[in-house]
Every structure is written in C-alpha cells, then in structure tokens.
Symmetry: C2
Subunit: 333 residues, 2 copies
DNA sequence: TTGAAAGCGCTAACAA
DNA sequence: TTGTTAGCGCTTTCAA
C-alpha cells in the first residue's frame, strides 16, 4: 500500500501558477466562459488534470451567492412513494443544472423541523414531501423567504406553494367500489397521525358515510409491520372490507390474514393505496388506488424551479388518482 | 397572500450591529464558545431571533475548511438494503455532529462516477455503497486523498478501506441447506452484472459445485420485476431449486410461479437473500439469508469517522450472515 | 483576451 | 471578555 498523503487542497491559485495564467482565467475556463484563447485554455485544462484540481464547493457557493442545490425532505426514504418523487425531481433538477440532496426525517416532526433548518442553509430551494410538522412551523418556514414547495399537504390561509394528490377522490372511488360489491361496513386502518393524507382520507370516509356506508376506524400506521399487527383488530370490527392506509399496510394485513386462515376476498375484502410494485404481486393481487408519482415528481420539480426563478404565481395542483380493481376485493357473500 | 419579499440575506454583521457587539462575539455565541458575558450573549441571541438570522453554510464551510458533511452514494435508494445502512450511518454521523447527504446513482456506473466527483467537493468523507464503477475509477478516487470507505466491494491491490458482507458464506449455507434437502441441481438468478456481490455469489457457487451440486445460471437483476420476468427461464433449467439474487427477485419469481401454477416448495424450492421485511410476509415465507444491515451501517459510520479523523489503520471487516430457513424450501419429492 | 482586486459570510488568530 | 482583521477559495466587475 502506498503511503497515504492527506494532500493539502489544490486551489485555483495553484492551477493558475502551473498554467502560467491568472486565477480569473482559470475560473473562466472552469465556467465555460469562451473568451479565453484556445491555447491558454488548453494549458489551464492540462494543469487542472495534472494537479487533480477540484473547485471547492463551499468557495463557489459563497462567491456565487447560491448553491445550485435543491433540498428534498421526506418522512421515510424506504417508502417507494417518495422514492419515485425524488427520482423525478432529480431529473428535472439535473436538467436545470442543479443537484438534489435528500434527507429523511423518519416520520418525526421534531427531526423534520431540525433538518429543514439545516437544509435551508444549504439549498437554494426546498421541497418538503408530506411534511408532518405543525402548522406554525410551516408558517415560520414560509415566512423565511426561501423558495419552497410542499407536497401532500395543504394549509388553509398560508401562502404555501403546494402540489397534492386527490386522496379524497381515491377513497371515494374505493368506497364506491366496495359499496357496489355489497359492502355496508368497512374498517379503515389509519395512517400516521400527523399525515395530512390521513386527514384527507378520513374526510372522504365521512363523505362516504353520507351514502350509507358504515366506517369504523382503527389506528395503525404506514408499514407492513403495523398492518400485520393491527389485522386482528380490523377483523374484530366486524366489517366485511378492510381499507388499509396504503399498500404496505395492506400487505401486512394480507400476510396476517393468511396465517389466521382468513380468506381474501372470500371472507373479507382488502384494499391498499398508492400502488407500489408489490401490489400486483401479492396473492391475491391488491385492489388499490394508483397515484401518478412520477407526474407528481415532475410537476413538483418544475414548479419549484419556477418558484426559485422568482415566479410567485404558481397554481396549486391536485394530481388525480385512479382506482385499480384486482383480486383482493369481492362481493359480500 | 402577503407580498413575497425575497429578503436580502441577513449576515453575521447585521446581527452584530443589532446586538451592539462584534462579529467575533456573534460567531462565539453561534458556536457555543462560553467566553461571552451572559448579558451580551443574550442580546446576541435576541438579535439572531429578531432578524431571523441563519449562518450561511457555504461561508462556514469555507472558513472552517470542512463541511461537516459525509456523502453517501448508493446504487438504488429504493432498496431497503441501502436504506438501513443510511439510517445507521446517519445516527453515527449525527452523534459526531455531522450530517449525511445521500445520492442515488440508479445502478449506472457512469452516473456513479459523476455523482462521486460532485460529492467529493461537498463532503469531508465518502461512503460508497456497493459501487459499480470500474476498478480504475475507484483507484483514481482512492488516490485523491479524500477519506473514504467502500462497502460490499473489495478490490485486490488497492488501498481501499472496506466493509463487506460474507456473501460467499451465505450462498454456501444456502447450497448446503438445499443439498441436505436432496437438491442436486439449482438455478441461480444472477444480480446486476457490475455488482461485486454477484461475483462473490458466483464464486461461492463454483465452490458448491465441488460438492456435487449442479448450478446453472440465468441473467436477471435485482428487482421484483426482473424476477417476475425471468421466472420461466429459471423453470426451463430443469433445476429443483431457484436461488434468487435477493429477496426482491425471489418475490417476483414467487408471484410468477403462482400465476403459472407452480407450487413452492412442492414443485420447486426458492430462496432469496438479504432478508427484507417482506420476506417473512410472503406465501410461503421465504428461506433467505439475513444480513445485519444495521451493524454494517454502524460499522461503516464508525470506520469512516476514524478515517476522517486521520486514522489510516482500519481493519477491513467482513460481517457475517445467517441462514433463515422458512417455508419456501422443501425436500425433493 | 487577460489580469488585478474587491468581495461573498464566516472563523480564528491575535491584540487589547 | 471583547474586538480587529486576516484569511478560506472562488467569482466577477473593472481596467488594461
């Protein structure tokens, strides 16, 4: 093994010296300003390679007054829901010449607030995905002047740019589907308590109750484990259909039901939400609601870009969803 | 909506003026240096709040000569395998007062190299998870002097700090288990071609062949979709057991088999690798190999910390794995 | 087309 | 205990 040399940083001045040019010229070459004589530019490039020079991001950011970075905060990196959004935003960002840095708040409103404070110092713009933090925190952030966009959360009376999903309609579609199959009593396995998405679903259920559907609610969460754990409670409700907060939960329920000898959909129907990949690979495949996450991500990326460019007139968007009927729902026997 | 004011940045000088102190004092308060008179410190803190001041990350990083950031690169954010590692590293980092920024190369060696170049300018240290880039690129990076650590990849003859998983033993355990069940011919659904983990598995299989196990190989990948797609090919091999590259692939195979009416494990046995949550929720639950990802993550975080602190004497570690026998494997009929 | 030099906002000697 | 000031490495006028 070669002796490790923690070399002192190579700076733009070193390159300038090596190339026999000024730092200004090196900077020009670096930034693709084409008012540099080809021969000189070549010497500079050679020096850069020779010395293995990399511009310091901190110095560039400071001098430029911006970081070329957009910060994305998600409550759970493991959830493909956010993953797809990150991917799409990354593509949009890349096209705009900026990079994306991602942080995971682990569903904790406190951590979320903290990470956001951090992110705000590093990034030119912020994308808060399904933020769980209290309204007041969000308000404070919004008042700070940093360009930002929020997904899956609407806060009445706050000048907050947002792109949301039509969860309300999704649940209505699900309920309508179940009602047509003859279900009169369904149990809803609730999502994370601070999730706006959960509130929207609850709103939709009370709408469905107006149509004569009986809805009982069981606290749960957003993971397979939680679905697995709460499945018996769902059963006890005496409902003929279980509406899980999302596909993960539904998959957990499905597994537990299998263990308990409960047949889906013969004994009880089951639905998910989000349409993750696994939804169509389960046995039976899951009736769920498809959310166009890539579209959501692209919209978010585009809107955030415009906001960062100073455009304050961003229309709040609500992306539509689509019911996917599969084998996990059936008519009441 | 209130008129949006893209306020000019509040700087440390503004705070100093407001508080009637010097910038040095403000800096001291900011950094918790306790040689500031309580009353003065209080005034400074009040000014900070009043003005809504946030230190510029770029300026701090530049002045300090470090960023307090560690960069993590993963080939696929969606894979819980990496997710768990990120979580553990984040915890270690947080305890050390630094933050983690994550980037996803999307399994593309080119993008990977590019992102690493970027990361290296932002971070004090690098954690490359299962890098797919060619040996030469890795060598160039290693020679650059940035503290870095690689997981799941060993490169002979390169002074590269690494922490790897004992994939070899994992596959051997799996093969031994299958052999004891009477299997004589297994088919291996290969992982991503640039993955070191795949190479290790192949090595292990040739070891198993020495014990009389017949192994045929089918190119596949690392996702459920790919498993689903290659399942028929696996069947055609005439093997009595399918060893999937990982649990995702196995789950895809399982779904396809169910559609095709192939019974697991009666008609054919099936194994995964990694032990993701879903592995025990499938029907039948998956025989797989558990990888202690949290431990891997903590080890990585700790080791990287030491490397960044200048300790060059880091022992390469190989974390052990554990066979988990479940319902998806059975004896040959 | 090139270079000199003034910042960018902060930290950390060094003085007082 | 506090303040002054010289950098940190880069970009970007402004002159030449």
């Amino acid at each position: 093994m070669v002796a490790p040399k923690r070399a002192k940083r190579v700076t733009i001045a070193d390159v300038a010296r090596e190339a026999g040019a000024s730092v200004a010229t090196v900077s020009r070459v670096l930034n693709g300003v084409d008012t540099v004589a080809p021969r000189l530019a070549e010497r500079v490039r050679a020096a850069i390679v020779d010395l293995g020079y990399r511009p310091s991001a901190a110095a560039q950011d400071l001098a430029r007054g911006r970081s070329g970075t957009i910060g994305v905060l998600v409550p759970d990196l493991a959830n493909p829901y956010f993953h797809d959004i990150i991917k799409s935003v990354s593509v949009v960002a890349r096209d705009a010449g900026s990079r994306v840095i991602v942080m995971d708040s682990d569903e904790d409103p406190g951590v979320e607030r903290e990470l956001t404070e951090d992110l705000i110092r590093y990034a030119d713009g912020l994308l808060l995905c399904s933020p769980r933090m209290p309204r007041a925190d969000l308000a404070a952030l919004a008042g700070r002047g940093t360009p930002m966009l929020v997904t899956n959360r609407q806060v009445a009376g706050l000048a907050l740019h947002s792109i949301t999903v039509d969860f309300f309609r999704g649940i209505m579609a699900l309920c309508g589907h179940l009602a047509r199959l003859g279900h009169r009593r369904v149990v809803y396995l609730e999502g994370p308590e601070h999730a706006w998405a959960n509130g929207e679903r609850l709103r939709a259920f009370s709408g469905a109750e107006a149509f004569g559907l009986d809805v009982v609610t069981v606290p749960c969460g957003s993971t397979t484990d939680e679905g697995y754990a709460r499945a018996p409670a769902a059963l006890e409700s005496g409902a003929t259909a279980v509406v899980a907060y999302n596909d993960f939960v539904a998959l957990g329920v499905l597994a537990r039901f299998a263990e308990l000898g409960v047949k889906v959909p013969d004994d009880v129907s089951l639905t998910g939400f989000d349409e993750i990949d696994m939804a169509r690979f389960s046995a039976p495949p899951l009736t769920t609601v498809a959310v166009p996450r890539d579209r959501l991500g692209r919209l978010a990326g585009g809107a955030l870009g415009r906001i960062m460019a100073g455009d304050e007139d961003i229309e709040p968007e609500v992306v539509p969803v689509e019911l996917r009927v599969r084998g996990s729902t059936g008519s009441v026997s």
